[in-house]
């Protein structure tokens, strides 16, 4: 599996930021009152719990991101002709960046595909009947995607559609589906 040259630039910092912001855990309201316990508070004071949970979340996200990256490389090989005049470092970097942000929204399923446009097409399936699609297009000689389209469906109907530059559309997407508490399968 060729993934050695996959640009890791965006993976850890984004996840770390999320873990830092949320404390790496979430509360449902039904849990035992552990958060008030002396043990918990002591661990928090020492930053042990926070670091351990952050590491756990980070590993979970990295594992998911790595699986996507491996699948992405396989698909990229099949579409090399369509991407022959495109800077592949840019394709990898922007795809990794978008994928990481998408993972923070905690989709139930995620698919990252390439098309012959050439474009990268991300599918996100959420458990509440919501699906989101992101497609960003590349052109020869351009370092960033030239267009980024977002369409969100709710119960099979279009609920949101946006088209702009790469980062602007990502931002619009994250306003619609913000980063969510992440449940780690046991």
């Amino acid at each position: 599996m060729i993934i050695a040259d996959y640009q890791p630039t965006y993976f850890p910092p984004q996840e770390a930021m999320f873990c830092q912001q949320t404390g790496g855990h979430f509360r449902t309201g039904n849990e035992l009152p552990l958060y008030n316990s002396e043990l918990y508070q002591e661990l928090q004071r020492q930053n042990i719990l926070k670091n351990a949970i952050s590491d756990y979340f980070k590993q979970h996200l990295e594992k998911r991101a790595l699986k996507i990256a491996q699948s992405f490389e396989k698909k990229l090989k099949l579409h090399l002709a369509a991407f022959e005049e495109i800077d592949l470092r840019s394709v990898r970097a922007t795809s990794a960046y978008a994928t990481t942000l998408c993972l923070l929204t905690n989709p139930e399923k995620i698919g990252v595909d390439l098309t012959n446009e050439p474009s990268v097409f991300i599918t996100l399936v959420y458990p509440d009947g919501k699906n989101a699609y992101l497609e960003f297009f590349f052109e020869a000689g351009k370092t960033e995607p030239v267009q980024h389209n977002i369409i969100i469906y709710e119960h099979k109907k279009v609920a949101f559609a946006y088209s702009a530059g790469f980062l602007e559309s990502l931002k619009a997407f994250l306003v619609q589906i913000p980063p969510a508490p992440i449940e780690i399968p046991l």
């Binding site: 698919g111 098309t115 012959n116 474009s119 599918t123 297009f137 279009v158 559609a161 088209s163 702009a164």
Partner: protein, 212 residues
Amino acid sequence: MQYPQHLLPQSHYRLIGWAAWLEDYYLVRHTPDTDMIDPDTEMLKVDYIVPENRTSQVRDFSTSLLGTFGREDCFWQIVGDRKGYFLFELWTPGEQPDEPVWQQDFQRDESRGMFFLRIGDIVDQKVPYTIGGKENFTAVCKVKHTPNRANFWHFSVRWFNQDGDIYPDQRGSWIDRMLKTAIRTIIREHAKFEAPETQPVLQDYYIQIHEV
């Protein structure tokens, strides 16, 4: 082998205009093989939505109306020098086209797969794009009868706006790309893999009525 007669347009046929009965009918589209489900999302593979070649199929996404056209008809493949005549040039009412000749003009490919779209699920779906937070562009999905000389049941999935049928000015234009994303997503959302129950289209819907 004779070409299936129920697929050929006849001079006494007429175009099928939009009507409410179409909503419960299904469109079928063939895929290169039966391995069409993406394991990551359990949806139709993205590569199978728009064909592997680089031609734009956004304006005219080819399908067939399931009913008189049966699932087995997806296996017929038009080939050879007259492919343009049979597939790409549309049939015009009153015309009696040539019949495709076995091996010369058509063959059978049973390795193909297929997926289905319920017309009522996709027709009139609006994709109300906001462009850069400023402009708006709304595309509405329509289904149109576009018979070719080898398949009277050929239907196209098309996009309309307030001015009518949308013709992207060029491949790779901003609108062209918005419509491409729209067609990929609407098909991923609504593609079905289980063959639906079907019934032949009533002749009244497509045979010309001559006034006495």
